[in-house]
């Protein structure tokens, strides 16, 4: 098959669609340079958005175009693998701002470092700045995503929340980090994957909008762990075989018996300590934890979809973000709805794998097998 023959057709249909969009909607014009030899005219995120939220008349057309362009993207992967070309997205600008709460809790606090400013003497400030930058670069370079909302949203982080605070969170608009109590936890800015986890909560908020309760909440948590882990692997240029698949490695204070907060490779084995107990994560549906605490165990049951991702990525080999990551990203952005269940995620990733790599492809088989192994399918 000649991909370039197909490309010209592809471009034609997208130009038509773009013409329609420019007249009928308020979507901003495409910013990807047209000179790029193998790039689509309308960014896929915009097509995904239109396929879900666009005017009724456009939804189906957007979805069809997306399917075609996703197939093309699969072909581009092959071309890139052969060294036949590059179509990277331009580095683009980030807008990071770090605030210091000085142990207060009234957000955001005092502005201490903006984009491009010199390093601070405070390691918390510099880690929040650097790790949020790597995360934004990862989303842009791997998925063509422009910040948390895909519209270039500012990345605000506040550090030194309260005193000895054992947590980090995304409040719907910004990241917040505690210092840790020094007994169980060190500072929460320390780990790249934790900051990747928090920013991914923002991405999920703007995409599938997964409700933070029960299975949809556990999926929300899982997407944050999966993309947090990928950010770390991408930064370290690790293959699926070389990665440790831990979340928050090195976050525990000295003396705590544990490697990390969670393990995607072996959920339930990240820590076992007399003070904080044992990692409660299941890796299979038969061990799904029922109960009301933590919004229905969102940080516990995320072990099941976390492990499914690990199984897909390791079955496919190479870098996790190249194939498994794309399948998960497209499912998050184009398929899942706020009250999605694990079964919806399984069917959604199967569908995305089929669109990206073809039905009954090796990739789609790996997705199916993974969800079967964790007892969801």
């Amino acid at each position: 098959m000649n991909p370039f023959g197909k490309l010209s057709l592809e471009r034609k249909s997208e130009i038509t669609l773009k013409d329609v969009i420019m007249k009928k909607s308020h979507v901003a014009p495409c910013s990807i340079p047209v000179g790029c030899p193998v790039c689509t005219i309308i960014p896929s995120h915009m097509l995904r958005h239109l396929s879900r939220h666009g005017p009724a008349a456009l939804r189906e057309k957007a979805w069809q175009t997306l399917q075609h362009s996703e197939r093309l993207r699969g072909q581009r992967d092959v071309l890139a693998g052969l060294g036949a070309g590059r179509w990277g997205v331009s580095p683009g600008s980030k807008r990071r701002t770090i605030y210091d709460l000085s142990h207060d809790t009234v957000l955001p606090g005092k502005r201490v470092r903006g984009e491009g400013d010199a390093k601070s003497r405070d390691v918390h400030v510099n880690e929040a700045y650097d790790h949020s930058g790597v995360t934004a670069d990862f989303f842009r370079q791997v998925f063509g995503r422009n910040s948390v909302d895909d519209q270039g949203m500012r990345l605000d982080s506040s550090v030194h929340y309260y005193t000895d605070f054992d947590n980090a969170f995304w409040n719907g608009a910004q990241m917040v980090y505690g210092d840790g109590d020094g007994v169980v936890f060190q500072r929460f800015t320390k780990c790249l994957d934790i900051i990747g986890h928090e920013l991914t909560h923002g991405v999920t908020q703007y995409e599938a909008g997964l409700a933070y309760q029960g299975q949809s909440g556990a999926l929300n948590e899982s997407f944050s762990d999966v993309f947090g882990s990928m950010v770390k692997q991408w930064k370290k240029k690790q293959t699926v075989a070389g990665a440790d698949w831990w979340i928050g490695e090195g976050l525990f204070a000295r003396g705590v018996r544990g490697d990390a907060l969670r393990s995607l490779k072996a959920p339930g084995t990240a820590y076992d300590d007399p003070q904080i107990g044992r990692d409660p994560q299941p890796a299979h549906m038969r061990d799904y934890v029922k109960g009301g605490a933590d919004h229905g165990g969102v940080h516990t049951n995320s072990g099941i979809p976390n492990h499914a991702f690990y199984l897909v990525a390791t079955a496919l080999g190479g870098h996790s973000w190249e194939k498994a990551g794309k399948i998960w990203y497209d499912t998050l952005c184009a398929v899942l709805r706020p009250h999605a269940t694990f079964a919806d995620a399984a069917r959604g990733t199967l569908r995305s794998a089929g669109i990206l790599y073809g039905s009954a492809s090796r990739e789609q088989d790996a997705v199916k097998s993974a969800w079967q192994q964790v007892g969801v399918l």
């Binding site: 009234v106 969170f169 409040n171 109590d181 933590d294």
Partner: protein
């Protein structure tokens, strides 16, 4: 009601507090913090009494839930028994708690080192 009364007039009768925290990015469920203010240094006991009054704890609804929970936030369950038998229990999402209630919850959580 006396709870919001003038500063310096806190009810310093002994209180027993039990705080359970769940959630957070780590998803840990640390052991409950159980505090008897009689066992605290005078200054700490005063501070806790002041925070209980400021939060108007005994007038809060039993459940303070967020309509749209924020990812990785804590949830708390706080029970306070006062000498004389007054008892109240509040379950809340951290992001739905008022500033005063938040200060009380955070303060009691850090008292774990004093018990």
């Amino acid at each position: 009601m006396r709870d919001g009364a003038a500063l310096g007039a806190f009810d310093v009768s002994n209180m027993r507090l039990k705080l359970i925290r769940t959630g957070g990015v780590a998803g840990l469920a640390p052991p409950p913090v159980v505090v008897d203010t009689a066992a605290l240094p005078e200054k700490e006991a005063q501070r806790v009494a002041a925070l209980v009054a400021e939060a108007r704890f005994f007038h809060l609804p039993a459940v303070v839930r967020s309509r749209k929970p924020q990812p990785d936030r804590f949830q708390y369950s706080l029970v306070i028994e006062q000498e004389g038998g007054r008892r109240h229990a509040v379950r809340c999402d951290e992001e739905a708690a008022s500033g005063a209630l938040c200060r009380l919850l955070h303060a009691v959580q850090t008292l774990k080192n004093l018990t």
